[in-house]
Amino acid sequence: MSPLLEMTGVRKRYGGVQALDGAALTAVRGEVHALLGPNGSGKSTLDKTLAGTVVPDSGEIRIDGAAARIGGPRDAHALGVAAVYQQLSIVGDLTVTQNVVLGLEPARRWGFLDHRAARARAAAALDRFAAAFPGGLPLDRPAGSLGPGEQQIVEVAKALARGPRILVLDEATASLHKEQVAVLFDVVRELRASGVLVVFTSHRLDEVFALCDRATVLRNGRTVGTVELAATDEAELVRLMVGDAPRRSGAPAAAARPSPSAGAAATLEVRGLTTERLRDVGFTVRAGEVLGLGGLQGQGQSELLLALFGAARVTAGEALLDGRPLPLTSPAGAARAGVALVPGDRGRQGMFAARPIQENLSLASMHRRARLRLALGAAAERRAARSMVERLGIKIGSLADPVSTLSGGNQQKVVIGKWLLDRPRVVLLDDPTKGVDVAAKEEIYAIVRGLADDGVVVILNSSDNRELTELSDRVLVLFEGAVAEELSAAAITEKRLVAGALRLTPGESP
């Protein structure tokens, strides 16, 4: 079969960063083709050159054998390419339907735009995802009122409404629950059966193996290989992505680990915590323990972490750190008491897009290094930021670049890194490895374990059950804002987690 898509020698440079350095991608009709690689390897940039939002410095794109000139999104659209980007493009104030219709060029009837036809197409596209909206399709609700996963689904529907022959999904599953992922995969499989080429990027390798036929791996902007997934195992794929270079998480990283924080060996005791979305939550985490939060996503896990960080209105209950009450009224108070939160929505809650990487990394801990809590030393701040860049392997041009110029995974590392500099006593993690590559995930896992070993209390919410099983000593399964079940070390398996989450919601199936 002749390839539907052939990209060769694609180059793109941003200032001092060579994002693409001769990347190539060849894929055929009716295929789900994974585009893989570490953070900052150029996956999103390659996707964007295909979708017309980035114009490469050089390179060739052929679609169906014919040279394609893609100078903008319109050209891509005309060629049958539709893309879902890593950053959401939803307009919160518009309804779901309006969002899907947005930018669609509706058919014209007697010279007038046919809005009714556009609406029908939107409804049809959304209908394929009906199973992901248990409460019925929210056609006329403002898109901003949907959860992050639902917004992501709307984003995919928007691309589908264009009836593409090539569909690009850039980390479309990063903010989805397991159940939503299943729905998306069903739709992707249908598309494949009807001859559509789907280019799929994800850092969750189990998803890649479950869904994709072949995978092309990028490293430093270059294509290092394309493999048949049926004939490849995970270790081999990881080796292809990471390269034979010595692993970062070797001895130097361990040496860079901060010494146990002052007054280590904390115990966190939570009693009767109640907020708008939490009901009477109580538990104890001992020093050195990693407590996982499981259950269907959206059952109050994020709310619990926010409440412990003083960022949700607590109506009853308390939290004691070593017997002393934690201030639950303000994040600043919580931070001073030694609590750190890596929030779930990095764009909105975690980073300062327009500010330099330096400031993003320094902000949470700079008061420790400042003279008189006011005067900052440029060299000391730079040293602190550099240490994190090295420890987490953050791929950057210069510390002075705005953090918005980083790839998604590298942005996430910055958000985690700013707290590691603060030597916290309680670390709250809300989906911390969202969009982070395999190597860095391992590094972050090592750091989390290291923190626990040093006597830090860690509470982890993750939409990735594999992550929960790997890291947690105990898991609290939450349901509708209350603790429904507690699984201890031996009992934590992915199967148990799924069962625990589902048994509590009779009548619903994944």
Partner: protein, 326 residues
Amino acid sequence: MSAPSLEAPRRVLAWRPGPVALAGAVAVALVIAGEIVSPGFAGYGQLVNLMRVAAFLGVIAIGQTIVIIAGGGGVDLSVGKVATFAAIIGSRVMAGEDGDLVPAVALALLVSAAIGLVNGLGVTLLRIPPFVMTLGMIGVVQGLILAYTGGRASGQAAPALTSLVNGRVIFDLPGLLFLWLLLGLLAVWLLRRTTFGWNLFAVGANRTAAELTGVRVNRTLILAYVLSATFAGLAGILLLGYTESVFLDLADQYMLPSVAAVVIGGTLLAGGVGGYAGTAVGAIVLTVLSGLLTTLDIGGAGRTVVNGVVLLVLLSLYGRQRRLRS
């Protein structure tokens, strides 16, 4: 990673002038235009004079820069009125006596800071939009001024203040310019090398994220308004030293130019991006432009139109450069 030898020349090619450089170029172009239409416009004495006028605007605009960087529609419209009030208090307390200079300045700055504190509390605790809060404050301060003076300003600058501001130091430059330089450096340090400055940029860039990073958002905002009013008060005192006696609307006209200087300097009205170096250049651009218009004998409506056009042209240029860079 490509060889570093390749990187250097490409980086030079990729360099595009930022707002500060563009505004500086405009200032130079205006001076040259002035020299062409009216020889002598760019003479040393003339330029020193223009810089002196720019200094007052430049000092008032320090606080304006801080408040605008804080974002969330942050702006301080009361700076002109506060500067006037500070000058009025100062002149009455010092009453031409060097001995009372320090208490007079201290009191004037204290009152200014208190006004800023009220602005800050209104904006944070009462959630009054900054535009509304500081506009309302103009009326309040005007009332205070009338109550304090009974409608007639009195008093006089202490000779020490006058010589500090007007006295020639070196190269025949007035002391005022060195004071501006000092305050300007202080502003740059405050924004770029202190925890307050970094917190301020963070609050302006993303308030939710700032909160969730442990930044005391309200405290930062209140401090921003206090600083704004204090720098305005300081500018009022400097103005008093220059004019030696006060009138009831001494510094009122600085309100909008202070915002314009900040914007011309490349600080985003949306907050989170900018700095004081740009504002200082912006103050110079506005002053040179105004001098040029006076030379050309263009007044009233024509002046307003030209000012507006220059602002729009510069802003559209900045927008273009930002797009090209990203």
